[in-house]
């Protein structure tokens, strides 16, 4: 039951439209700093573009996808009309307003501070306030997801919450809490300086606040993808979820341990104690657990589908999989990229290995592979799967869809593998140009060129994606039926309270935040003399 199709469509269209813009900027950036481009006579343009690319891809695009998908899940999994539709639209328009407010100063070059802010660099206050509005808009969604679940529980006491909704709400709580770090940084530290109320800022404390957000935000981006793994893929390829319980545990683990691990981003920072770095490093290792569990469960679910289709043999069943089904293809690509990206993540996790690649191009390669690759390719798949239910029209050309997915996969591999490599060679991040003529870094030139070619492959795929969606709005009408999610092999009749509610896990998440972040934040906030003069970018 998808009653509010317009709401979901609006979120998706806006998400993919801004994605298209940011993708174009990204491809341009890959090109201009590669040996194929000529050096920019104004390097600020590069940082401007980078700020826009990061802000859109990091804050706006995935948030809109999670929101749109979340509303769709709420209506279809709970089979209940969305409660609070007006609020949902208010949240949407807040994001629109916030994005415009943030992007105007960025476009004018008044806020080229990158999406990571990094004070004491300070840009236009409108940029920061815009970002805050985007976050506030998304918090409305968080509240609505919680309220809708509560309404459903009131009407269905004791029933297991459908897995998709359980995961969706877990993701929304994770986002609500993880956004608090950046919100505190913006509201308490940056905005007062940007508007001129204060002249100094504690750069070290700001980095700690930001790490609170910056790592767990990745898992917020990841949740829709994991929901697709568990709740869409098995149904789409004719299988069943191997285990409903394991799926719940995976999302619970994300909720609990995704957040108190962010300080692995500050391994190289002088303002964080070595003890807390170790604690965060250990908890970072833990966050691999839900992914390992998921890989197992999904592979088993896929195997079930294959065997139901007559596949047999130890590995021979793979041949029986519906490879012409875009969902199957997307899942396979996503898993390959998740595998490589995850292996890279294990390297970033330890101080010792991280120190050889920290803040090099390896890191950008890593999160593009995980986010742009493994996660976003499933966003495409989600859109393809939902589209007929939203538009009442079917996709005619599955081949085009497959081409798009192939292009994205190949493009992402061509882009990110050389990117990782130049990172190992020590190529630093976020530079507008490099002197590849210098013999010391000339060996990196070829790899960077490949990455740029990959960037254009991705751009082609992205454009194709938008074309497919647009054509999907005008293709022949179809009765898509109710939107359904996968069933488990052993569909649970009852679920233990702890696995059917979020309270315990939210409490653990907050508790771990206090143990892992409380002291570092308090001690920096209370120490005198750690604030440093602001440096206004583009100042005259």
């Amino acid at each position: 039951m998808l009653a509010n199709r317009k709401l979901v469509l609006a979120h998706f269209w806006l998400a993919f439209a801004v994605f298209g813009v940011a993708l174009t900027l990204g491809a341009w950036q890959m090109f201009i700093r590669s040996p194929l481009g000529t050096w920019l006579s104004n390097p600020e343009l590069y940082y401007r573009s980078l700020t826009a690319h990061g802000t859109v891809m990091g804050y706006v695009f995935p948030t809109l996808v999670a929101m749109g998908f979340g509303y769709a899940i709420s209506e279809s999994a709970l089979e209940q009309r969305l409660v609070g539709v007006r609020w949902a639209w208010a949240g949407f328009w807040l994001i629109v307003g916030g994005s415009i407010m943030a992007m105007i100063p960025v476009a004018l070059g008044r806020a080229s501070v990158l999406y990571t802010f990094y004070p004491p660099l300070i840009g236009s206050p409108f940029y920061y306030v815009g970002v805050v509005l985007v976050v506030v808009g998304s918090w409305i969604w968080v509240a609505l997801m919680s309220i809708n679940l509560r309404v459903w529980k009131g009407a269905n006491p004791g029933k297991p919450v459908p897995l998709a909704m359980f995961a969706n709400v877990a993701g929304s709580y994770l986002w609500a809490w993880t956004a608090v770090g950046a919100a505190l940084e913006l509201l308490l530290q940056i905005i007062p300086v940007a508007v001129g109320l204060k002249a100094t800022i504690d750069a070290g404390l700001a980095r700690v606040f930001f790490s609170w957000t910056l790592h767990a935000i990745v898992y917020f981006w990841l949740v829709p993808t994991y929901i697709a793994y568990y709740a869409i893929v098995p149904r789409a390829i004719g299988g069943r979820v191997y285990s409903d319980t394991m799926a719940r545990i995976a999302f619970i683990l994300f909720l609990v341990v995704a957040m108190p691990i962010g300080m692995h981003h500050t391994f190289g920072d002088p303002q964080v104690g070595a003890g807390f770095k170790f604690v965060h490093s250990a908890f970072t290792a833990l966050v691999a657990l839900p992914t390992l569990l998921t890989v197992f469960t999904i592979c088993a679910s896929v195997e079930i589908a294959a065997r139901l289709r007559g596949g047999h043999g130890l590995f021979g069943w793979m041949r029986a999989l519906p490879w012409d089904n875009p969902m199957m293809l997307a899942l396979a690509f996503s898993f390959v990229m998740l595998g490589f990206g995850g292996a890279g993540g294990l390297i970033n996790m330890s101080y010792q290995l991280d120190s050889s690649i920290h803040n090099t191009q390896w890191i950008t390669g890593h999160f593009h592979l995980i986010f742009g690759g493994a996660i976003v390719i499933m966003y495409f798949a989600i859109a393809y799967d939902l589209w007929p239910h939203l538009t009442g029209r079917e996709f005619v050309d599955l081949r085009l869809i497959r081409t798009q997915l192939w292009l994205w996969f190949i493009g992402m591999i061509i882009t990110t593998f050389p990117w990782h490599w130049v990172g190992i060679l020590g190529m630093p991040r976020r530079m507008a140009y490099f002197d590849f003529a210098d013999p010391a870094i000339a060996p990196q030139a070829l790899s960077v060129t490949f990455s740029a070619i990959g960037g254009f492959t991705l751009l082609t795929s992205g454009i194709l994606f938008l074309v497919i969606l647009a054509r999907g709005m005008r293709s022949p009408a179809v009765e898509a039926g109710a939107y359904r999610f996968s069933l488990a092999v052993h569909q649970p009749a009852t679920v233990p309270l702890a696995l059917n509610t979020h309270a315990l896990w939210v409490a653990l998440m907050i508790g771990l935040t206090i143990t892992n972040y409380g002291y570092p934040i308090l001690t920096l906030a209370l120490t005198e003399g750690t604030s440093v003069p602001a440096v206004y970018v583009g100042a005259q």
Partner: protein, 271 residues
């Protein structure tokens, strides 16, 4: 089971999850705060408490290391983005009076007729810093040093605000505009040279760095050479010496000639 029972020890999930989480935290904390600090033979801790505090990141003021005595006078100015960032009419008025004695070299409108720097519309922090350095001896000049010696901090601030307030005018002897040389546009990354404009105004202004459009070519050349040769050392922590030393003599000539040929409106407007 109701929601209240969720947080009781009779709930298996509560017991297990809180227990495991607490255990992981305690174990990693013991390893991180006690075992690892003492496992590092290259760091000495007074006692366990010192080790724990250090690992927790209790901030300590950097120990006053026995620094070498400075063999020559260096700049003692402290600049931040808020240095003289608020002009006021009174200060500008006082500055105008004081500036009468500067006019011989720097021109009545702040535009020099000789090879002294033009000061009209220069950033206030720059003028303040140079005056301060002339007074302290961090920068020396036969003409300027005696002038600066008698100035108080407030007078230097007034002068700086006055000149910053003056409109930016074309140079006294305008020359045809030259194309931008590569060293100015791109710098030279591998030699550690950023584009000039990233500090000197056309892209961004690093506090204390002047904008250069329309300045005397001879003056800029002489200053770049002085920075490169170490004769001029009042740039805080070598920020300009690092750049000038890495420039070739030809690049110094090109950069000086380029900036001298530019009209002042090339610099972004002051807000």
């Amino acid at each position: 089971m109701s929601a209240r029972d969720l947080f009781t020890l009779t709930n298996r999930h509560f017991k297990t999850s809180v227990g495991i989480t607490a255990a992981i935290f305690v174990v990693t904390a013991i390893v991180g705060f006690i075992v690892l600090p003492f496992a590092q033979p290259w760091v000495q801790f007074a006692n366990v408490w010192d080790a724990i505090c250090s690992a927790a990141g209790v901030p300590q003021r950097s120990a006053a290391a026995a620094a070498q005595a400075q063999d020559k006078r260096l700049s003692e100015v402290v600049l931040t983005s808020h240095t003289l960032s608020r002009p006021n009419q009174e200060a500008i008025g006082r500055g105008a009076t004081l500036a009468q004695r500067c006019a011989i070299c720097h021109g009545p409108t702040g535009i020099s007729r000789a090879d002294s720097p033009n000061l009209a519309g220069q950033y206030a922090a720059v003028i303040y810093k140079e005056l301060h350095d002339f007074r302290s001896g961090a920068r020396t000049n036969a003409v300027m040093s005696p002038f600066a010696t008698g100035l108080t901090d407030q007078e230097m601030g007034d002068l700086a605000l006055y000149y910053a307030f003056l409109p930016r005018l074309p140079a006294y002897h305008p020359t045809p505009q030259l194309p931008k040389p590569n060293i100015v546009i791109y710098g030279a990354p591998m030699r550690g040279i950023a584009p000039c404009g990233s500090c000197h105004g056309s892209l961004d202004n690093k506090v204390g760095s002047p904008w250069l459009e329309g300045q005397s070519e001879a003056y800029m050349k002489a200053q770049l050479r002085a920075f490169a040769g170490g004769d001029r050392r009042n740039d805080i922590s070598q920020q300009m010496r690092n750049i000038a030393r890495a420039m070739t003599p030809q690049e110094i000539d090109e950069a000086a000639a380029y900036y001298a040929s530019q009209p002042p409106d090339i610099v972004k407007a002051v807000d």
